[in-house]
Amino acid sequence: MINHATELKLQAYLDGELPPGEAKAIADLLQSDAGAQGLYHELKAAKSLLAGNELERQLPESREFYWSKIQRQIERVESTQAGGLAEPATPRWWTRFLAPAGVLAALAVIVAVALLSPEDGGTFLSLDDSHEIETPLEETSSFSFRSEAAAMTVVWVDSHRE
């Protein structure tokens, strides 16, 4: 019985893919070995049976429908590529000032809060001329809200604060 490497060489010989030096050795083997001969003829028969005998198939869709799908896909791909290749939009001129303006605004808020803080340690925030929120003593945890416009004062005291 011939080994697998020789079987593959027999096949390569059949397919014309064996180097000339090895082809001679296989041709000699085929003359002398009945087993090799049998296998060679089996492979050859399978090869020649397949040649030119592939089943022809028909696409199960109409010409128009099939083409319409291809055309749509082509258009989609091309529009995507066109979009991808387009120059990136130029940023508007004022956008370059956004970052420094943001930093300046943050600094302004910090300075304003520092300047408006009362010296007695209480927190005092003025909303406008007519509205005030006052927390006179932090330890008592009370808040008052006064509106001049509404002529109203609301005091909220948290007695549970530790």
């Binding site: 593959l8 492979l43 049976l49 198939r57 696409l59 083409w67 896909q73």
Partner: protein
């Protein structure tokens, strides 16, 4: 004076040239002309109608995109077939229907059932009409593994060399030879009319 192209009677080369210049109508004629062949190749590899339609369609879209690269070394339909084969191979790899080379080598080098099979000489042509023979070959192909079928299709129907098949299947030439050997032996048995049980 320019002549209007008669798409129906123009040959592939003329249509390809027109399509390369952006002629969508020329390309449509090429699709109509070769759609069955391209679909058939996709079906033979995938063995699934839906996959075959999708992949053949994708192949046409790819062909349109790469049409300028087509230089005419091979025929247009050969070029198209190569595109659809590559797409099918990619899809089979994605679906993991093509086994890793190492696993297959262990399986096949350990012997495999085909090595135990007695030598047969299939000769169904004596009693079968051509149509029946083709049908029977197709049924036999359907019973092969994806690896065996793919290598057989590429070698016997597309007439690709071992080296080219190995490149496309991303495996060694030795693996291609081994797959082709077992595929042929299985086909020989199936076409000789042996029962399925005898293969297992």
């Amino acid at each position: 004076m320019s002549q209007k192209l008669d798409f129906g009677s123009a040959d592939d080369k003329t249509l390809v040239k027109a399509a390369q210049k952006g002629g969508m109508q020329a390309f449509e004629e090429l699709v109509a002309r070769h759609r069955d062949k391209i679909y058939g190749r996709a079906f033979s590899m995938m063995r699934n109608e839906e996959d075959a339609i999708d992949l053949s369609q994708e192949a046409w879209v790819k062909a349109w995109q790469r049409l300028k690269q087509f230089q005419g070394e091979a025929s247009f339909v050969t070029w198209m077939t190569r595109i659809v084969i590559n797409l099918c191979l990619d899809q089979l790899r994605k679906q993991k229907r093509l086994r890793a080379e190492s696993i297959e080598q262990i399986d096949e080098e350990s012997g495999g059932v085909e090595r135990q099979m007695p030598v047969v000489t299939p000769n169904p042509t004596e009693r079968l009409e051509r149509g029946e023979l083709r049908q029977r070959i197709d049924e036999a192909l359907a019973r092969l593994s994806h690896e065996h079928r793919t290598v057989l299709i590429m070698h016997e129907f597309e007439e690709l060399e071992y080296k080219e098949i190995a490149r496309r299947m991303q495996c060694s030439i030795g693996t291609v030879m081994s797959r082709l050997f077992y595929a042929r032996r299985k086909m020989a048995v199936l076409l000789a009319g042996l029962k399925r049980e005898e293969l297992r």
